[in-house]
């Protein structure tokens, strides 16, 4: 199983969720990530967290 996530530009899309902001969707896991966010730095934090967790999960290590 591939444990390496590609750059976020290839793996994440946003979908407009109205006043809630935008919803991140991981194209690798095909699932929505976290809650909708409004600002880019928030999105990057969410993405980093998701990538770390998924990478750990796929490598068989326990999530801290």
């Amino acid at each position: 199983m591939n444990t390496n996530f590609p750059p976020s530009s290839d793996a994440v899309v946003f979908r407009d969720r109205g006043v809630d902001g935008v919803q991140l969707h991981c194209l690798i896991c095909d699932e929505d990530i976290g809650l909708p966010v409004l600002y880019l730095n928030e999105a990057l934090v969410v993405w980093d967290k998701h990538r770390e967790e998924e990478t750990l999960k796929r490598s068989g290590k326990k999530t801290p």
């Binding site: 976020s8 407009d16 409004l38 928030e42 999105a43 934090v45």
Partner: protein
């Protein structure tokens, strides 16, 4: 509307003192994530990379020393030292590049003491104060407080749990 998230790479700081997260669209368009964290970069308004790049260049031109090596000992202790870089790279980049000539906060955001940062987190978690309340208490702008909590990953972690923001 579907837009893509810019890719993030980690690149050497100007003086080689650490690694900074960098947004990159192409070979020539990049900015640190701290710039991307600017309130003006609202995702729902789209990402105007020409504007981001222009702001990046303009601010760098006014801050020739805005690299890791330009921080004093206290600032290094907040999270720019190599031993803490792993956990605080975003925070570090944020502090470095928000040493803003615009002085958005009431205090100099660049040299925010670690005690203040810890107090922000404590007030948010333990006292359950709102971001504006914390700003008022400690003398920082709400945007500055919110930015710190976001980069410390506290704000989002608690919001995920349904805590008020």
């Amino acid at each position: 509307m579907v837009i893509t998230l810019p890719s993030v790479t980690y690149e050497r700081a100007w003086d080689g003192g650490g690694w900074l997260p960098v947004l990159r669209r192409g070979d020539n368009d990049m900015t640190t994530t701290a710039w991307a964290g600017d309130r003006s970069y609202n995702l729902k308004e789209g990402l105007d990379w020409d504007r981001i790049r222009a702001e990046h260049d303009a601010r760098l031109a006014t801050m020739p020393d805005c690299f890791v090596g330009g921080l004093n000992e206290e600032e290094r202790s907040i999270g720019t030292g190599s031993d803490r870089l792993q956990q605080s790279h975003i925070e570090a980049a944020h502090m470095i590049t928000t040493g803003s000539p615009h002085r958005r906060g009431k205090k100099n955001q660049w040299s925010i003491p670690k005690a203040d940062l810890d107090e922000m987190v404590r007030l948010y978690i333990d006292e359950e104060m709102t971001v504006p309340e914390i700003g008022e208490r400690l003398g920082y702008s709400p945007h500055s407080v919110r930015g710190r909590l976001v980069t410390a990953k506290v704000y989002l972690a608690n919001r995920d749990k349904g805590k008020r923001s």
